[in-house]
């Protein structure tokens, strides 16, 4: 407790507060700009921290990490351009709320949820970090596979429309995720002798194409409606605000579930905020009384992924600080920064560098509070764009889509990929195939495939290995139940 108070006192020193504020501003910029993620932001920042004290350098990175994870949600909600990969799921309901003229509520819920999820994970980090790391280490390949299957079991129900067509979209996403070098065998697949495809279908360019470009094509195709006509897209002034308290209270279990899930998934090495946001969303769908409403523009669809992805940020710090293992791509880059400053993350860090560790805890806590300030400033700037006519907004979105996809790997192949996915998105919308299920298939595809392959190698190709292990067996049973639930419910209702 004494160490914790020292940590808070250290962070509250003026110079450290300034560092957090700088990190917050940079994080918001990086979060809002499409194609530029937390890992890149931290990597760019490392050289600037060389001359700083270790605590100052690390605090600026922590603030950047937390606020950039949130920042992506603003453009997801306002323009359907996910600024960051963890904000992709937020587009599903966030942008639909903007189309209904409720962007203020959506943005307010995103700030509140991100802040809440982040603070929850910091509390978990302070209280039970070492014990949680031990549980996470029990997760083997079979458990990862079962977890991915559980996530996929609700995909087809997301976004409304035909379940069969959505299931086909999920499978298409899983298939597209196989392009590029196979992670297990190292063999290139479906590259057609093109070097740009060796790394596979990069996620951000694909998501920008599917969501941003496809949306522009669809919007410009529709002849602009007058106010009051059916199909009129509301472009009202954004008034940032929270939904009524009773709505927030109604979502209490959703918040708790997403925060717990996000924190735990953040702790698992290699499972970052993107996967956590998806699981937050899919579990919200699974537990909802009206799952069909997800994807049509409800605040639950913003609250769940935003709580989970910021909770995953704190979660990802658990294995970093207790075991020296990165929980996400950004924390992997952070390890480099730690080493540069002469700090070796690992089990002894909390003993040898207690002041630094507790200052990081406090820094994470304040960074999550800074989301509120950063969110309000970022939104104030970005909502002004909504006053423009769609001829300019649409053109601007296409320009940002191109530079956003290019800046991921400085590759024109990614830009063409974005264009291709934009065209595909246009046809998918037209013929009723869900975009969200395809993206979710692409997120979970690599996890599902590689963990299955590795589990089978470990078990000498005995499939029983997957169901005889307690955690994986339970998760797979849950997945089967979840998949069969609509039919079971129909059967029970029929008997009644």
């Amino acid at each position: 407790m004494e160490q914790l108070l020292i940590g808070f006192w250290t962070v509250l020193q003026p110079v450290n507060i300034v560092m957090l504020l700088i990190g917050m501003v940079l994080g918001m910029i990086i979060g809002i700009l499409p194609g530029v993620g937390g890992p890149m932001g931290v990597a760019l920042l490392i050289p600037f921290t060389f001359t700083m004290e270790p605590i100052q350098g690390i605090l600026i990175m922590v603030a950047l990490y937390v606020t950039s994870t949130y920042g992506g949600s603003i453009t997801s909600i306002l323009f359907k351009i996910p600024g960051e990969a963890p904000a992709i799921v937020t587009t599903f309901d966030g942008y639909e709320l903007t189309k209904k003229g409720q962007s203020g509520s959506a943005l307010g819920v995103a700030i509140f949820s991100s802040c809440l999820g982040g603070i929850f994970s910091v509390i978990v980090l302070i209280l039970i970090a070492p014990r949680l790391s031990a549980v996470a280490l029990k997760f083997g390949e079979a458990e990862y596979f079962a977890m991915a299957v559980l996530g996929l079991s609700v995909c087809a129900g997301i976004g409304g429309g035909s379940v069969k067509k959505n299931a086909l979209s999920v499978l298409a996403g899983l298939f597209l995720a196989t392009w590029g070098i196979d992670e297990v065998t190292g063999h290139p697949r479906f590259t057609f002798d093109t070097s740009g495809l060796l790394m596979g279908i990069t996620f951000i360019p694909a998501a920008i194409g599917l969501f941003a470009i496809g949306e522009v094509f669809e919007r410009v195709e529709t002849i602009l409606k007058k106010k009051g006509e059916e199909g009129y897209v509301v472009q009202e002034r954004v008034r940032l605000g929270l939904p009524p308290l009773k709505d927030l209270l109604r979502m209490k279990w959703l918040y708790l579930r997403s925060a717990v899930l996000g924190t735990f998934l953040g702790i698992l090495p290699g499972v970052g905020a993107t996967t956590a946001s998806f699981f937050g969303y899919s579990e919200a769908v699974r537990w909802s009384r009206d799952p069909k409403k997800f994807g049509t523009g409800i605040i639950d669809g913003v609250a769940a992924p935003e709580t989970a992805n910021n909770a995953a940020c704190g979660g990802a710090m658990v294995p970093l600080l207790t075991l020296g293992i990165p929980g996400s791509a950004t924390t992997a880059v952070m390890i480099g920064a730690f080493v540069i400053h002469g700090i070796r993350p690992g089990p002894m860090m909390i003993v040898q560098q207690a002041k630094l560790v507790y200052s990081i805890f406090a820094g994470l806590f304040f960074s999550n509070l800074l989301i509120i300030l950063g969110g309000i400033l970022g939104i104030k700037f970005l909502v002004k764009v909504l006053d423009l006519s769609y001829s300019k907004i649409g053109a601007g979105i296409l320009l940002f889509a191109v530079i956003g996809s290019y800046s991921m790997r400085n590759s024109m192949a990614d830009v063409w990929m974005t264009f291709g996915f934009g065209l595909m998105s246009y046809f998918m919308r037209r013929y009723g195939y869900g975009l969200a299920p395809m993206v979710l298939g692409m997120i979970l595809g690599p996890l599902c495939e590689t963990s299955l392959q590795r589990a089978m190698i470990i078990a000498d190709y005995d499939p029983l290995f997957l169901i005889t292990r307690p955690i994986s067996g339970s998760l797979l049973a849950l997945a089967v139940l979840s998949f069969l639930y609509p039919w079971i419910r129909r059967l029970i209702k029929g008997k009644e």
């Binding site: 910029i29 990086i30 700009l33 530029v36 760019l44 069969k164 067509k165 299931a167 086909l168 499978l171 298409a172 899983l174 298939f175 196989t178 196979d182 297990v184 065998t185 063999h187 697949r189 479906f190 470009i213 094509f217 669809e218 410009v220 195709e221 529709t222 002849i223 602009l224 059916e230 199909g231 006519s389 769609y390 001829s391 300019k392 649409g394 053109a395 601007g396 296409l398 320009l399 191109v402 530079i403 290019y406 800046s407 400085n410 024109m412 830009v415 063409w416 264009f419 934009g422 065209l423 246009y426 046809f427 037209r430 013929y431 009723g432 299955l452 392959q453 089978m456 190698i457 190709y461």
Partner: protein, 173 residues
Amino acid sequence: MTWKGDFHSKGASVSDIIVCLIIIASSVFFYVQTFSFPSIAGYEEMGPEFWPRLTLTGIVILALIIMIGSILERRRGTSPKVESKEKKNTARAVVCAGILFFFIISISYIGFLLSAFLSMMVLAYALGERNKLLLLFFSFVMVAMIYLSFGKLLFVPMPRGIWIFRELSYYLY
């Protein structure tokens, strides 16, 4: 090229059948590609071809189910033929896609900044903006924002193009 009605709802079953046939044909094409993957020692039972084949088989089965369902609907005469009141201007989407296509191609030749500036003006014009001064101002501001945020702040090496455009770009970035 303005047409009335939603393509999906107007002749839903026919379009579904055509789309499913395209999906099946593409899946078969990719499935055949998997036979060119080598057998890797130690991974004979679950090699690089296993997961693509599994997902492609699932895609073909689902496409067949959707297609058969559409054929049956059509035979029964129950396919939805709802006349949508929504007017759509497909030409505008095609023009937009065309401009985007030429924008991406031109980046490699005349560099990012110039192609972005020209494409912004053409795109905003195609989408309905007619004020020439505003078109110039808007395009300039957008490109300047991209240049400052991506080029200067984040050090993204933007494409310079070829020949004189490449030489000129060095004066800017």
